[in-house]
Symmetry: C2
Amino acid sequence: MAQRRVRARRGDGLLLREEILAAAESLLTETGSEDALTVRAVAARAGVSTPSVYLHFSDKDALLEAVCLRAWDDLARLFQTNAHGDPFRALGRCGRAYARFALAHPVQYRVLLMRTAPRDGVPPAAAACFGHMVDVVRRCVESGVLRGDPERLALTLWSSVHGCVSLLLAQPSFPWPEDVDGLIDQAVIVAGFGSAMLSRVRGPVPDSAELAGELDALGRRLGEG
Amino acid sequence: MAQRRVRARRGDGLLLREEILAAAESLLTETGSEDALTVRAVAARAGVSTPSVYLHFSDKDALLEAVCLRAWDDLARLFQTNAHGDPFRALGRCGRAYARFALAHPVQYRVLLMRTAPRDGVPPAAAACFGHMVDVVRRCVESGVLRGDPERLALTLWSSVHGCVSLLLAQPSFPWPEDVDGLIDQAVIVAGFGSAMLSRVRGPVPDSAELAGELDALGRRLGEG
DNA sequence: AGGCTCAGGTTGACATCGTTAACCTAACGG
DNA sequence: CCGTTAGGTTAACGATGTCAACCTGAGCCT
């Protein structure tokens, strides 16, 4: 226990809630692991007895979710500042921004999007991520570069960039290439190109030779233009 | 404790190891959650005292990893049976098979690929997944439909399908579309199309109008052919 | 001033967990 | 038949999430 906290005045009960959240957040970022967030450690850092935590959070998971959600304001800002300009390029910027956000808040991202969420109700973190993706995808659909249901398209793009960052977070000892940024770029662009292309290729998947031939031609034209 | 196990004969010490693994596996699949796998529960189901588990596994995580790895034989078989024929179409089949594998072994997949792996050494599960992807991608590169470093391409394709299934596993209460299979198909094809396209489009990302025009033309030709 | 109330905590305990140290015992070689 | 040792067991420790019961002091009322 760092310092025995002075008792709050009447009506200031919510003060403790904020102090607990701050203590928990510092614990998370300092240790880099959610395992370090024990109720006792948080209470001690807040200068308060252990059961006091339960005055403001129904259980440990509620505390963990609340503290991890604090990072999600950053994500909204990131999407907002990257959504302008050409829709397809904005999509790329937002995807990269999403990845940067995840890697900048690894614990929070793991806790909220890589663990099994409770069965009841959509977790707000997931809803926010998906919502932001839908917004930027919708502009691509309106501009004509993407076609189809924006929500469906957003799901694929979201899962694509999520896959990249979640593997990076979960497998730190994997022999990743030097330029992680380049890998993320690749994941984002591949998802964008693929989505744009899929909505225009009807029928069965073309075979290798046919696809190679058509894409060679496309590459020449886009390279020249 | 179900039934007090009869002591193994001399030299049959490894018998217990197998029985512990079987008990742990049944616990995992019955409960569907790795939290149910406590050392005590496993020992009880194996008909043995709790510390006996430590005769064969250094700690709980070692046991958990060992039991989850048992599913990975299935994955090797799946890639093997889907790798034949046209390379690009085989890539699609393997991607779908990978997703089916993950959804068929949700606990094992979560434990081995969605939790933070230890810092020392590449986990065998991740190495196997990546290795299989590289194999099938290499054939695509040899046939010319994909271009570039097979390992790099495999990383993107792996992360793409991993993203889809890991979101499905982690967010069961998300309003997923009815046809999960269709969503997986989409993720796989988008990754394949995008990868094939990216290696042919040099220079900066085209803007929305340019991309839309070229892809419209491509769609018409592939649709007719 | 002085007492009452109840928001805002604390003390102490319980069950369960992973893990270890110390001990036991039955199967085999001689 | 006896000693060794592989193959276990018993008992315990410390940490954890959580709860029931208790305390206490700030603010209102008379």
